[in-house]
């Protein structure tokens, strides 16, 4: 039996004003997996996520989610198909309260009672957020904002969660906490695409990995194999 992938990206190319940032990449993610996309700053990781979420139109290639072609689909329609993203730099709404930010995550849902239960779940996952529920999100620390962004994304009950550099700019202790939460989300059955510059952490947290270099995928394989691959170790693990 061959399972069909939850997300299939084929021949994807994206350009900014004529300059290609992504030059034709293929990858897929199967249900239940945690896959990581690692690469240096400027490799095109964020651009790949933007293309998947409809924030930039691809110039070539196709994107399928659960077999449906979502190439060039509008951003706002994708969350209804089970896709959620924690954007680079968290993207919390700074002048909304923490509660309102969390509520925005459930924008597409109408089941009040279930939403209330999920809010409770997010607050028990991140007790700091409960303490600051009525504070505006812009006043939170970087780590708290990251937790808020993750909690907000969970509120749509995504099947596939895209995370763009959740470790960026956070103190190591906080990074550990954030990654522990990501692992627990994965255990709950959410499929995850984790984009990271912190290759070591990302490879330890994921099942499979792709390495992106200047808009091309140069290495693909099991995360455990990449961790012991001398080339990867030299280029991305600082050895």
């Amino acid at each position: 039996m061959t399972k069909s992938p939850m997300l299939r990206v084929a021949g994807l190319a994206v350009a900014y004003g004529g300059i290609r940032a992504i030059k034709g990449i293929d990858f897929e993610i199967y249900g239940g997996e945690t896959v990581t996309l690692i690469g240096a700053n400027g490799a095109g990781k964020t651009t790949t996520l933007r293309a998947i979420t409809g924030l930039v139109p691809p110039v070539a290639g196709s994107i399928h989610l659960n077999g449906r072609d979502i190439t060039g689909a509008t951003s706002f329609s994708l969350v209804r198909q089970g896709l959620a993203m924690v954007p680079e730099g968290r993207g919390v709404f700074p002048q909304l309260t923490v509660s309102e930010n969390v509520a925005m995550g459930a924008y597409i849902r109408d089941d009040k009672a279930e939403i209330a239960r999920d809010v409770e779940r997010v607050f028990s996952l991140f007790p700091r957020l409960r303490e600051r529920a009525q504070q505006s999100a812009g006043t939170l620390s970087g780590g708290e904002q990251q937790m808020l962004a993750i909690g907000r994304a969970l509120m749509s009950r995504p099947k596939l969660l895209l995370l763009d550099e959740p470790s960026m700019g956070l103190a190591p202790v906080i990074v550990q906490k954030v990654f522990a939460v990501i692992e627990s989300i994965a255990r709950d059955g959410v499929t995850i695409l984790l984009v990271e510059q912190n290759a070591n952490l990302a490879l330890r947290t994921s099942d499979r990995a792709y390495v992106l270099e200047s808009g091309l995928i140069t290495i693909a394989g099991k995360s455990a194999d990449l961790l012991s691959d001398p080339k990867v170790r030299a280029a991305y693990l600082g050895e």
Partner: protein, 328 residues
């Protein structure tokens, strides 16, 4: 003291109207950083539509309040359609253009709307039928009319309603989210185009009511009435902090009061008899009991722009505005 109280009441009436109009500017600016210079013309069209309906029904035997209500409820949807059409036809195609392009388009749209109104309603002053009898009350020596009281109360209700909408409803929260980060709001499932269109429509609906109020207050409507009113309301929005909803309310009320007090006292402030040595013959004329001032209350309109200049120089983010640009 009587002048003060009188001008305070007049200022609050005018200011309440400015505030409601300013909301239209500030809401649109908040969500797409566009100064919709055609908003004053939307207000004018509200007044014009109400004028037509009220004139038609003036002798129908319906109770006056009902006639005004019918006029207003016709003006609101017409203005909402105009506001929506502006966004759809003129601004949306320029959403990603350099900022000067939509700004110039907005000025162009205001000219277009003025001239359409001129063709439909003529270039004359149109007298609003005075179907509601004006009653005047005496409050500590100042006189206040029933129309003034209704205007102020109605404006406060509209502002309260808008605050409730923006802070307590899902639509309001998603509108604020879109204003703060449209891309991320889109990721949450918010249809940004719809959100922007709704913002224009709400601003236009408020403008329609303001138009009816101005028309009834001054008793006339004119195809150019929106230009100065719009500009002043824009000043009020900047005073409060453009993009900030409570700011527009505070800015509008404050501007109205400043303007009215300014007009009330400008004669005294520029009283040349205080400096009788300034030119020959002045002392004699003052002694004969003549009042000679440099500026009269017809300079009232200057104050809005003085306020605008002062705000831009001293506090560009406005009274309640947050500094723009420190959010990436």
């Amino acid at each position: 003291m009587e002048t003060f109280l009188q001008q305070l009441f007049n200022g609050l009436t005018l200011g309440a109207v400015y505030a409601v109009v300013a909301l239209g500017y500030t809401m649109v600016y908040g969500i797409i950083q566009l100064i919709n210079f055609a908003h004053g013309e939307v207000v004018m069209i509200g007044a014009m539509v109400a004028f037509t309906i009220i004139t038609l029904l003036a002798n129908s035997g319906l109770p006056p309040v009902a006639i005004v209500l019918i006029g207003t409820s016709c003006a609101i949807p017409v203005c909402m359609i105009v506001g929506y059409a502006l966004e759809r036809i003129a601004y949306r195609p320029l959403r990603n253009a350099p900022r000067l392009a939509p700004l110039i388009t907005a000025i162009g749209m205001s000219i277009v709307l003025q001239h359409v109104a001129m063709m439909v309603w003529s270039r004359n002053n149109l007298a609003f039928p005075q179907i509601i009898k004006t009653e005047t009350y005496d409050i500590a020596g100042a006189s206040v009319t029933n129309i003034q009281i209704v205007i102020v109360i109605l404006c406060l209700v509209l502002m309260g309603g808008l605050l409730w909408l923006v802070h307590r409803t899902r639509l309001g929260i998603s509108m604020r989210a879109t204003a703060q980060n449209p891309r991320v709001a889109g990721l949450m499932g918010v249809n940004i185009n719809r959100e922007i269109a709704i913002t224009f429509a709400i601003g236009a609906a408020l403008g329609a009511v303001a138009g009816v109020m101005v028309g009834s207050y001054y008793g006339i409507a004119h195809y150019q009435m929106g230009a100065l009113l719009g500009l002043k309301a824009f000043c009020a929005a900047v005073l409060g902090g453009i993009g900030n909803v409570p700011g527009a309310m505070v800015g509008g009320l404050l501007l109205g009061v400043i303007e009215a007090l300014g007009a009330g006292y400008i004669g005294d402030l520029t009283d040349l008899c205080a400096v009788p040595w300034l030119f020959a013959g002045l002392a004699a004329r003052c002694a004969a009991g003549e009042h000679i001032s440099l500026f009269g209350s017809n300079y009232q309109d200057v104050f809005a722009f003085l306020v605008l200049i002062a705000v831009l120089v001293l506090r560009p983010s406005g009274l309640l505005g947050e500094r723009v640009g420190d959010r990436a």
